[in-house]
Subunit: 137 residues, 2 copies
DNA sequence: TTCAAACCCTACTTCTTTTATAGAGTTTAA
DNA sequence: TTAAACTCTATAAAAGAAGTAGGGTTTGAA
C-alpha cells in the first residue's frame, strides 16, 4: 500500500501537471488545491525537489513547478522515492537490495525467485503509469 | 513489502508442502525447520487455520498439515490474509475496498484508475505463484 | 484417571514508522 | 527594508509491527 506521503506526492505532481506551462505554484496553493496539510506538503515538495522531479523558486513570488516531463515521471519513480522498494522483500529488489538475515542460502531460497517474477510484472505496470497518463484521463 | 508475518506464513506453508503426505508437523518442528520464533508462529498457524489453508490436530501427537492443495494456495491469498489489500490504495482494492476520505469524487479521481491497472497486473502475477510452484523450484 | 504433549487464545510490551506540527532560518522582489 | 515564500531540523502523537507471556483446552496413552 502507498503511504499517505506517496499519495500526497502524486496528488501534488498531478496538481502541478495541470497548471499552465511556466506557471509557478505556491505551497499553500497546492495544499488547498489538492487537500494536503500545508506543513506536511512542504517536506514532500522538498523531497520531490531533491529527487529532481520538481524545481523551486525561492523568495517572494516563488513556488514549485515540474522539472521533468510529465511523460517521464512514473509511478514507480515516486513509489521508490517515498516508499522504497517495489519488490515484496528486499532480497528481490533491484534498487533496494538487501540480503535476508534469516536466509541460509539465497540460491536455495524458495521464495526469492517467485518474488522477483512479481516484482518484474509490478514494476512494468508501474512504469507504464506516468503523471501525463493520469492527467489525461 | 511483505510483513515479517506474511513471510513467516509462506515459509511455514512451504515447510508443510515439503513433508510427506499425511505427515503432521508440530509447531516447534516448523519453527526450527523454517527459522521462525515459536510463539509468533503459533499465532500465524492459527490465522492460517482460520483461513482454511491448514488443518490441525489437537492434543498429544497433534500438529498442522496443509488443508488445501499446494497448487491452489497462491501468494495473493496469503498476502490478503496477513497484509490485506493487493492494491496500492483501498479505493482501488477488490477485497478491501474503502473510499478515500479526502477524495471529492471517485469518478474524477486521477489516481484511482491507474492504481487499478497496477492492481490487476500485480494480482495476476501473484495468483500465478503458488506454494506448489515455489516448492518445485 | 492422571499426566504430559501439543494446540488454542488473549493480553501485553517494545520498538519502529508514519503522520503530521512547530518554529526558526534563508532568499528574493518590490 | 519588509513581506512573502521556500528551507531545514526537531519534536510529538498515533498507529502498526514484531514478538513475548501466560495461561486454557484437547487428546492419547500409561
Amino acid at each position: 500500500m502507498l503511504s499517505q506521503k506517496t499519495k500526497y506526492a502524486l496528488k501534488a505532481l498531478l496538481y502541478l501537471a495541470q497548471q499552465d506551462e511556466n506557471h509557478i505554484s505556491r505551497t499553500i496553493e497546492i495544499a488547498e488545491g489538492a487537500s494536503i496539510p500545508k506543513k506536511f506538503l512542504e517536506q514532500i515538495l522538498l523531497d520531490l525537489k531533491r529527487g529532481h522531479f520538481v524545481g523551486s523558486k525561492q523568495g517572494k513570488f516563488g513556488g514549485y513547478y515540474l522539472l521533468k516531463d510529465k511523460e517521464s515521471i512514473t509511478l514507480a519513480d515516486i513509489h521508490r522515492l517515498f516508499d522504497g522498494a517495489i519488490a515484496l522483500l528486499p532480497c528481490a529488489s533491484l534498487n533496494f537490495y538487501e540480503r535476508c538475515s534469516d536466509c541460509v542460502s539465497e540460491s536455495e531460497c524458495l521464495l526469492r525467485h517467485g518474488l522477483m517474477i512479481i516484482r518484474d510484472e509490478t514494476l512494468k505496470a508501474m512504469q507504464g503509469i506516468t503523471i501525463a497518463s493520469l492527467v489525461k484521463k
